[in-house]
Point group: C3
Chain length 215, copies 3
């Protein structure tokens, strides 16, 4: 169990790091200043978890009280600023870590909601929120339509991860630890496969039949 | 009283449905994928209520715990995707239901804040927030200036509905039921008349006298 | 102590007023209607404090319960609408009051978090949030990249103010009153100097070396 917690911690920090890198990179591209880059990095890394904690009554939200998140986010921002060309070449590993973060946050988000005694719907909705909330906030701050609402299976991978956690809890599938590892693996694999093979959800608005109705 | 509650439930679900349709339609036009369409539909339908619940300490927010909202929102999204041409022809009934939702959410939002013991100001501000919050979040997600801040009497109708509830509570006008029905009717009527006759609030920035100062 | 509280109140209301003016002016330029102008003014004035209060569990947030904030914000909006040319000529005093609000909100935000028993990190993060949250929300509503993430030392002045409060609390520097006044003065001075001499934080994205990687 001890080992599982250490593993959790490493995975969560990897995810936080990757999320912060994605925020810092996007902020740098939009010419934000040093503070702006750090702020966006932190928001991407912790924004989803903060919304989850507000919704389940964890006051103050963990993202604000645990210095580890802040340190990891600022380090990622510093790295992005100081070694931008390196970070750019790291695009692949960053996408990999991002997938780690996505599945990790979906699983821990759902688990936390269940641990506080809330129902399956809350757990699934907040699992997704934890996983994608930070990315949505990044895109809002940089005034673009949230990426995750447009492209590739992203939020759906988070949904699947949260769903497995909730099902495992409901049907008492063995100990929580195994269910979480399965949820993580499935969610992560789906995301990586979607990236590799460019799987997308259907975009109904693309039908030619109603092209004239677009604005 | 039983009947009143059933009526309430029907009105609230009609409003939720109309709000979700407006979200799904807007999301489809911006070419979001299936998940994005469902997400925006849900946010429009439940976003305002979730902010209200966070502000009055209802944890977790009702929009996350009651499966009815989620089912109605996803159904509306499904309908928009599957029968888009039908939904487009339903523009008038959707505007009608939207007005129902607007006045309904303004009234129930203000009532809920009062029921939790908060003052008139909180009730009015959160009544408006419940009614227009989802629409504002839709426009933020789709990166456009919130519609309701620009055009036609919309938020003002919500303000009026919340105000009547608060006045009724303060002056003990009969039982809560009647006051709510009057508030609903007045707010709904104002919105429908504004739609019908294109009533707008003044837009001070339109004065020619300072046209040169616009950016 | 009585006097200090009166001073606090005057400073806080000056800040609220300046923030509301900045919101109303920006909203008017974007041709929002009367309700939109009032709404943006209120959001800029109270948005940061509302987020802070949600994060530390002050339910309902002070910005919703204290009528003073609402009255000041609506008055500022009314003034901006009625006497726009006057308000425009007041650009300098408004920037001055805005600096007052910035440092004031940073200091009181950090103090409030400490008073509720939370740690230094929470106090600093929420001090900054209180000071800049409203402005960020204004820019999100008007769909532009938040000004404060791009230009001049703004959030950094808030960070400095919150930091001094936290240090003073940690090392027991005399009574809270003096520390707050020093924090206020330093934060305010930094902001004014940054305005006067156009001090900016570095914008790493501006390097020519990676110009080709910009989107």
């Amino acid at each position: 169990m001890e080992k599982l917690h250490s593993l959790y911690f490493v995975l969560e920090m990897s995810g936080t790091f990757a999320f912060a890198i994605s925020g810092a990179t996007a902020a740098r591209r939009r010419n934000l200043d040093l503070f702006g880059i750090c702020a966006v990095a932190f928001v991407v890394a912790c924004g989803g978890g903060i919304i989850r904690d507000l919704c389940i009554g964890v006051i103050p939200p963990a993202g604000l009280t645990n210095w580890q998140y802040l340190v990891v986010a600022i380090s990622a921002a510093g790295l992005t600023v100081g070694f931008y060309s390196v970070v750019q070449r790291l695009k692949r590993p960053v996408l990999l870590f991002d997938a780690v973060g996505l599945s990790m946050f979906a699983v821990t988000g759902a688990q936390k909601a269940l641990a506080y005694g809330y129902n399956a719907e809350v757990a699934i909705l907040l699992g997704i929120t934890t996983a994608v909330g930070g990315g949505v906030m990044r895109d809002i701050l940089l005034t673009r339509v949230p990426f995750i609402l447009e492209k590739e299976i992203y939020a759906s991978a988070a949904l699947l991860g949260s769903l497995i956690v909730v099902l495992g809890d409901h049907f008492n599938w063995g100990t929580g630890g195994w269910v979480a590892i399965i949820a993580l693996t499935v969610s992560f694999t789906l995301r990586i496969l979607a990236l590799r093979y460019h799987w997308n959800l259907p975009t109904p608005g693309d039908d030619k039949t109603d092209a004239d109705t677009h604005r």
